[in-house]
């Protein structure tokens, strides 16, 4: 059967991506306690020092491997629960209460950390490079002020898929119909440098009883950019039955192992005129629930699908291969990043035929449903 298409599952990369990764909302780490975060094949410890800075180190003590996330914050340092070795935010051991001196080699792995838009970002690079502040996600004007609701924060565990699966969504026009129940009417991608962007306009499907984005009254204009390998800012203009809202959705992840990651998302809403804070928060929570449904639909697909190195594409598909070429820049040594990976690339998906076919399919579904409803006898009095 030489005509059979071979599904190349390939092998996932042996390293984690170079770049900034978001670990959570800064305020959630600011309680004077150590916090454990699974990431990069191990565990990280996060704590706030007396100056209010957030520090991030490898979670295991270099002495005898004690779990620092179960230790205590003492002064500015994190103290190991096993033998009380004290580690500073710069990665150096500052004191060993029972020892004459601290060994010179007592340095552990430190993750350079920055708080951006109220979120804790850490730099990861297997080559151990200096953190590159030029490639941090942009500051969001107004976020963190009275003009916006507070960030929501949710985490979904994806225990058996590589995080490239979620990256692929950047170019996946058709899955918005099948997985998220929306008609993507406009769809465009631009990749350049460390940024990959998706522009989309969509309308909810009327045949899905409001599941996912499947609500005819829901019209989205969406601009979503990955700034580096793991952190996407999605600016959403949402029109729900004429009620317009500006939503900022953060879709980010931390790889936890060679084939697993934590999907995290945060959302805030520009408070609409004449709406009180409680109502604005409620609107934010409702949108967060809508996107939760969307992410869960994605996760269900990833946990059951095969990895594919050689996707077979049709004319209506987005530029999967070019997106992956862009993504590759974060998995090779900095010196091996080629111009092709970062050169500007623009792609306009032709959604006209797809939407014609989908409109027909939805019309058939609605007709069938109407027939079934008509055939069902009234049972209220039975």
């Amino acid at each position: 059967m030489s005509d059979t298409r071979f599904l190349d599952q390939g092998a996932p990369p042996e390293r984690f991506a170079r770049g900034w990764h978001c670990l959570g909302l800064a305020k959630d780490f600011a309680d004077g306690k150590p916090h454990g975060i699974d990431g990069f094949g191990g565990k990280l410890v996060v704590w706030q020092d007396t100056q209010g800075n957030l520090n991030v180190l490898d979670g295991y003590c270099r002495h005898m491997g004690g779990d620092l996330t179960q230790g205590a914050v003492k002064g500015d340092e994190i103290a190991c629960p096993f033998h009380d070795w004290r580690w500073g935010g710069d990665g150096k051991c500052k004191a060993i209460p029972y020892a004459r001196r601290v060994p010179l080699r007592a340095r552990t792995q430190k993750y350079p950390a920055v708080v951006r838009n109220g979120q804790l970002m850490v730099w990861h690079d297997v080559e151990g490079s200096e953190a590159d502040h030029d490639v941090l996600p942009p500051e969001l004007a107004g976020v963190g002020t009275e003009a916006y609701t507070d960030w929501t924060w949710e985490v979904l565990d994806v225990p058996s898929a590589h995080c490239r699966e979620i990256i692929d969504n950047v170019v996946d026009m058709a899955h918005f119909f099948y997985i998220h129940f929306a008609f993507p009417t406009n769809f465009r991608n631009v990749f350049e440098g460390h940024v990959a962007t998706q522009f989309m306009e969509s309308t909810g499907r009327p045949d899905m009883d409001g599941a996912g984005y499947g609500d005819e009254g829901l019209v989205l204009k969406s601009e979503a950019s990955y700034f580096g390998p793991s952190y996407m800012i999605n600016w959403l203009h949402v029109d729900y039955k004429g009620f317009e809202t500006e939503v900022i959705l953060i879709n980010c992840h931390v790889p936890t192992g060679p084939n697993s990651f934590k999907l995290q998302y945060a959302l805030c809403v520009k408070k609409p005129e004449g709406v009180d804070d409680a109502t604005a928060d409620y609107i934010g929570k409702r949108y967060s629930e809508t996107f939760k449904e969307g992410f869960e639909q994605d996760v269900h697909i990833w946990l059951n699908k095969a990895p594919v190195q050689n996707p077979l594409l049709c004319e209506e598909d987005g530029p999967v291969y070019q997106l992956r070429r862009w993504y590759e820049q974060f998995y090779v040594d900095k010196a091996d990043v080629t111009p092709e990976m970062t050169d500007r690339f623009e792609f306009e998906v032709d959604t006209t035929k797809a939407n014609e076919y989908w409109r027909e399919e939805v019309a058939r579904n609605l007709a069938k449903k109407a027939e079934e409803d008509a055939a069902t006898p009234e049972t209220a009095d039975a």
Partner: protein, 100 residues
């Protein structure tokens, strides 16, 4: 060295096919930029820039120099017009070949 390692040589062929096949070089009518263009249909357009083309484009340079910088999605209208002209003159084949 690829990090996501394919297990078949055909996969490398596919990578080249989808990223490079049928790209026609289109020179901008207004500047020295030249980009690779593919059109699978009237409405579809794929534009592959390189560093030299980006440097040659005065529109992009103008945006780069503005205080807020250049928005990533900002395309060059002159280039789009040049591509449209190339299509009208029959320099670009419209249509996909088996999905690429």
């Amino acid at each position: 060295m690829a990090s996501f390692i394919p297990s078949s040589a055909d996969t490398l062929e596919d990578m080249l096919l989808y990223t490079q096949a049928r790209l026609t070089q289109v020179a901008c009518l207004d500047c020295l930029a030249s980009v690779g263009v593919k059109k699978n249909s009237e409405h579809h357009t794929s534009i592959q820039w390189n560093a030299a083309a980006l440097e040659a484009c005065p529109e992009f340079a103008r945006w780069d120099a503005s205080p807020l910088g250049r928005e990533i999605h900002q395309g060059c209208a002159r280039l789009v017009a040049s591509i449209d002209a190339a299509v009208r003159e029959g320099h670009i084949d419209i249509g996909a070949e088996d999905g690429y």
